[in-house]
Symmetry: D2
Subunit: 355 residues, 4 copies
Amino acid sequence: MPDASWPVLAPLLQAATAGRDLLDDTLRRLGPDAVTAALLAEIGEVEHDVRLDLHFDGVTTSHLRTGADLVVSLDLADAVRTLYGTERRWPSLAVSTPSAGLDEGGVGAWFRARRDYPAAVEAVLTALRPPQEDLGALAVRFGSDKWGDLHWYTQHYERHFARLRTEPVRVLEIGIGGYDDPDSGGASLRMWQRYFRRGLVHGLDITAKPGVTGPRITTVQGDQSDAAFLDALGTRLGPFDVVIDDGSHLNDHVRTSFHALFPHVRAGGLYVVEDLQTAYWPSWGGAPDGGAGTSIGMLKSFVDGLNLAEVAGPRVNGGYVQRNISGISFHHNIAFVEKGLNAEEGGPEFLRTLC
Amino acid sequence: MPDASWPVLAPLLQAATAGRDLLDDTLRRLGPDAVTAALLAEIGEVEHDVRLDLHFDGVTTSHLRTGADLVVSLDLADAVRTLYGTERRWPSLAVSTPSAGLDEGGVGAWFRARRDYPAAVEAVLTALRPPQEDLGALAVRFGSDKWGDLHWYTQHYERHFARLRTEPVRVLEIGIGGYDDPDSGGASLRMWQRYFRRGLVHGLDITAKPGVTGPRITTVQGDQSDAAFLDALGTRLGPFDVVIDDGSHLNDHVRTSFHALFPHVRAGGLYVVEDLQTAYWPSWGGAPDGGAGTSIGMLKSFVDGLNLAEVAGPRVNGGYVQRNISGISFHHNIAFVEKGLNAEEGGPEFLRTLC
Amino acid sequence: MPDASWPVLAPLLQAATAGRDLLDDTLRRLGPDAVTAALLAEIGEVEHDVRLDLHFDGVTTSHLRTGADLVVSLDLADAVRTLYGTERRWPSLAVSTPSAGLDEGGVGAWFRARRDYPAAVEAVLTALRPPQEDLGALAVRFGSDKWGDLHWYTQHYERHFARLRTEPVRVLEIGIGGYDDPDSGGASLRMWQRYFRRGLVHGLDITAKPGVTGPRITTVQGDQSDAAFLDALGTRLGPFDVVIDDGSHLNDHVRTSFHALFPHVRAGGLYVVEDLQTAYWPSWGGAPDGGAGTSIGMLKSFVDGLNLAEVAGPRVNGGYVQRNISGISFHHNIAFVEKGLNAEEGGPEFLRTLC
Amino acid sequence: MPDASWPVLAPLLQAATAGRDLLDDTLRRLGPDAVTAALLAEIGEVEHDVRLDLHFDGVTTSHLRTGADLVVSLDLADAVRTLYGTERRWPSLAVSTPSAGLDEGGVGAWFRARRDYPAAVEAVLTALRPPQEDLGALAVRFGSDKWGDLHWYTQHYERHFARLRTEPVRVLEIGIGGYDDPDSGGASLRMWQRYFRRGLVHGLDITAKPGVTGPRITTVQGDQSDAAFLDALGTRLGPFDVVIDDGSHLNDHVRTSFHALFPHVRAGGLYVVEDLQTAYWPSWGGAPDGGAGTSIGMLKSFVDGLNLAEVAGPRVNGGYVQRNISGISFHHNIAFVEKGLNAEEGGPEFLRTLC
C-alpha cells in the first residue's frame, strides 16, 4: 500500500507542471520540509563531497554533505520543476566554492584542489534533471523481462506511452516477478518508476512482496482472478492511466482482470495485455484459433465492438466496454486498448443496402 | 500520371532536409530555374504588389510582381528548406523598400505609402513557410468527407500520420470522389497535398479524373479489383509510404487491393482501410459477424498472423503478409496496418504446456 | 486594471497544465460556471448553428446555440486542457446529430441536411484548440507595428519567447499605441494575447485606453518616467515574465523604466527594449556613439556587469542589476535582457597576471 | 587534417536526414562497404558476444563477433538513419537466437543460456541510436574545462547550439588543450564529437596534436594570430557552422582570429568567444573598462554595428562584419555572435528629430 510519503508526493507530482504561482502555493501547503524530503528520496545517494542548498520563501536549508565546501544552491521550486516537470533550466542556480586561500599555492594547487568539482556538481544537477533514457536501456539496467527474455516489448511501449511519459500517471502492473519469493521481483516496477518520472507505480501480485520498495513504488498482494477485489482496488488506488496485465497469462484471468479494471482506467489511458501467445495454447486456457473464450478472442471482439453502431443500429449504444474503447493496437503477443468515448454515430439504414 | 514537374520535384523533396551541402548540390544538378519554377507553382498567386528575389550561386532572379518596389529577397536554398523542409529561419532574408523621396511628405505620407508592406511581406513568407494546419481544418477547407460527412476520421489520421508528416512520402489513395464526373472530386487529395508538404499524392479512381490537378497531385484511372493492374501501378509509382483504401468499400475489392498493394508499401509505412462498416453489411459483401471473407475478417486474421510464431511453431515463418505486418490499429470504421518486419521468435515448445 | 474575470482566469491558466487531479480540484474550487464563462469569452462568437455541451462532475450544461440539433459535447477539463494547456486530444469528445427521420428522403436529402456540419464542428473545436500561428501573421492580422512598419521584430520575438509561449505568463507592455485616442491602439496587446494563449496581458500608456479591451487584456494609465508609480504597479500586477518597453523611446525614460521594473521581472523572464535607434539620436536624448547616458549605453554597461567578478574581484557581488542579469541579446534596434542569477565566481587573482 | 574516412563521412552525414531514396542513392554511390566501415568506427567496441548483420541491395554482411549465435540484423540505411539522423525506429530490425536444442534442458537451462542476450542486443542498438546526453555530463566524462574548471559554460552552449545539434555541422575550435604535449588535450573536441552526432570537429592549436584522434575529429597545427593562415584554413575546411575561440585569450589574438574566420562562418552559424574576462586584464592585452582594443570592446562595437542604419544613414551599408551579424548574445565571460544578414533598413531622416 502507498506509504507515508504519498500524501505529499501525489499533489507534488500534479503541481510540477502547473504555473509557477500554483506550484509555489502547493509547496507552501505541503510544507517545504516534506517536499524536500520527497525530493531527496528521489535523488538518493550522491557519491561526492557536495552540499545542496535549497531556498523557499526566504529560508535556506542545507542537504547532502552539509559540511562540504562546494555548494550547489537553487530555489526549491526550480528543483521540483526539472525533477518532476519538463523544465530544463534553473534561473536560480549558483555554485560556490571555498574562497579561503584563493591565491595560495599557485595555478597547479588551485586546479588540483578543484579537480572533483565538475563531477560533483554535475552529479547533483543530473539527479535533479535526469536524462530521458530509452526503455530498452532501463529494462536491461533493472533486469525487466520486457526486453529480451522472450519478447522485445519495449519498442512498442515506447511508442504508445510516449505521450504519457511526462504526465503524473498512476500505473498498475499485474505481476511483479520473482515468483513466491517476497523479496524478489520488481524489475519492471523500477523500470516504470524511472520511465515515468512523475508516475506513481503500483504492483499487484498473488505473492506479498514486502521486499520490493522504492520511491513512488508500492505493492499490493491479491488475486487477479478476483473481480470484486480488483474493483475495490481500482476504487482505492485509481483511476489509472495505465494498467498492464503481465500476470498469470491464463486466459480466463486475463478476461476477468480486464472487465474488472477497465472501468478504473482514466479516459485517454491505456490497458495493456502482454504475452498473448497463451491465447493459442490450450493448457493455458487458449485455443489454436484464438477464438471466443480466449484473451485474443476477447480483444478481437472489441474490434467488432468499435463498429457496433453499424452492426446493431446507427443510434444503438453498446455496453460499457464498447462505448469506452476508442482504439486497439496489436503487435506480436501484445495489445494496447485505449480508453476513450466510442460515440461516433452510424450512418442511416439505407446505406446498408445501397450496393 | 505524374507530369513534367515530377523529375524535378521528387529529388527536390528528398533533398530539402538533407545537409546544406547536399541540398546545394541537388539544386545545382536540377538547375535553379527548374527548382524555382516548382517553388513558384507551390506558392501560387500572391495578391500583393511584391517582388521575390532569389539568389543561387551568385545569380539573382526576380519573381512574382517583378515591377514592384517592395522586394523580399533570400537564398533559393533557404526558401527550399522552409517550404519543403523543417527549417524555420532564413538567415539570408532581406526586405527592401523604395528609397526615393524617403523624407518627402513627412510622417503621415511615409507611413501611408507603406501601409500594405507588412501584409505583402507576410504573404510571401507565409507561402514559403506554411503553417502546419490541423487535418480537420484542411478537410473542411477542401471539402473532404474524411471529416464529418459520415465519419470524423481526421483525429485518427493525425495520430498515425504525425511521424510521416514532414517526410517526403509517396501517398496513394484509392477513390478520388466525384463519382463519374471527370472534373469533380479530389478534395482528399488536396487535403493530403497540404498536410504532407513534401508528399507526392497519387489518386486512383475507376473514372478518369483529368480535371483533378494541382502541385504534387496526380491521378490514375483504373480498377481496384484488378490485382495485376495494381501490382504494375505499385511497381511504377511506388514504393508508397501510405496507401489509403477509400474506394468502392466492397469487401472483395478491399481484400484484393490489400494483397496487391501491400507489397508496394515501404517498411515503416501504413496501409489504411476506411469505411469498414461495410464489412458487416451483406449487400456490400460483408457479414453481420465480420467473419471470414469480409474486410474486417481479413484484418482480424492479421491479428492472429502477428502471433504466428506461437501458433505455427517458434521458428516457422509465415507468408509475406504475416512476416511484414508489425502492427495493426483499429478505430471506429477504420484500420491502420503497419508495414514492418514481424520476425520476433516464439519461445520454446515446452512453454506451451507449462500450465 | 484587471476586470472581474481575472480572479477566475489567473488560477485557471495556472492549472491548465497541471495533472488532471489538480486541474479538477481547481475547476471545482473556481466553480464550473465561472470557468465556463471564461472559456466562452475566449471562444467568442461561432458563426454556425451548433451547440456545445460541457460536462463536469456529472452535470451537463449547454452553450452557444442551445437550440441547435448539432451538438459537440466534451468534459470541461478536456476543453480547458486544449484551450489553455498543451493537450491536443479530447478523449471525451462526442458529436451528435438529429436522428429524427434518419432514413427519409434518401441519400441526397440526408447529405444535404448535414452539409454544414463539418465546418460547424470544426469551428467549435478549432476555437477550443487554436492553432499556434506565427507572430508575423498575428502582427498583420491585428495591425501591430512590430512587423513591417519600421521594423521586422517578430522573428526575434519568436526565438526568444518560444520557451515561454505555452506558459501562464504575465506580460507588461509599455506603449499601447493610438496616441491620445482613448479608443485606439491595442494592436500589439491583441497580438500577445493570441501568441500567449495562457498569458495575462497588461498595457501601460500615458493616455487612458478604456476602449482597448479583450479577454486576458487590461490597460493601465501612467507615466513610464515615474519610477515610484512603476514600482507600485509591479508590486500590484507582477511579477512579470515579460516586460516590453515600446513607450516613448526617450533615452531617460527607457533607463528609468528599466531600473524601476526589472526587479519585478521573474527569474527566467525577459525585459525587452524596442527602437534602440533613438539611442543614437540627440533629439531623443541619445548620442551618436551610443555612449553613457543613452539606452544602448546602459545595455552595453550591463555587458560589462556580466563580467563583474573579473573586473571588481573574484568574490565581489555587484548591485542588484549586475547580480540578476544572466544574459543579454542584441539584434537590430532591439535587445532582450534575461533575468537570472549572475553568480558565477571569478577565478583567483593570479590568473590576471599569468600572461 | 581530415583522414581518409572523411570523403565518405562528409556526404554520409549530409544524407542521413534526406529522404530515403536520396539516402539509398548516396549509400550506393559511396559503396556499402565504406559506409559500413564508417559506421563500425563510430560504434567502436561492443563488449558482448553478438553479431551485427547489415543488409543493402540484397546483400548481407556480418560484423562485430561474426561467430556469435545471437544476431541483430537490420538494413544499412535504417542503421544510418538512427546513428546520424533523427529517426528512432528500425522497421527492418530482427533478432535471432540459436534454435538448436530449443527444448532441451527445460525452463531453467533455456533462460540461463539467454541471460546475456538483453544486454548484448541493447548494447548494439544503443550504439546505433545513441542517447542525447546533456553537455555538462559529456564535459565531465571527457574532462572538458567548459564545465566547472573556471566556468560553467555548458548551460549557455546548450541553449545556443540546440538548433544545430542534429545538423551535419562543421565545427572549428581554437585551442585543443594539453599545452605543448602532442598527446594530451582533445577533451572538448571529444565532447563536441558526441554532442554533434553528425558533426565534423576540427581542432586548431599552436602545438601539433598527432595524439588527439577519434571518429569525425581532426586537428590542425597553426597560429591563431596569423590571419592569412586562418583565411586559408577556412577556405580549405569551411564554411563552418560553429567556430569557438578557446585559444590564447590574448585580446589581439581574439580580434585577429575573429576578423579572419568570421567570413568562413556559414549564414545561420555561430562564432563563440570564451574567457572574455581577459578583456579586463591589462597583462592579457585588456583594459579595466573593456574599451576599444579589447575583445569585449570589439564585441560591444558590433552592438553599435547592428544599428548602423540609424547611426550612419538609413540606406548606408556597413562593412562586411556589420552587414553579416544578425545578433549577439552575452553571458558571463562568453559571447555568441550570430552570422546572418543585418539588412534591415533604417527609417527616414525626419524620425531622428521628431522629438
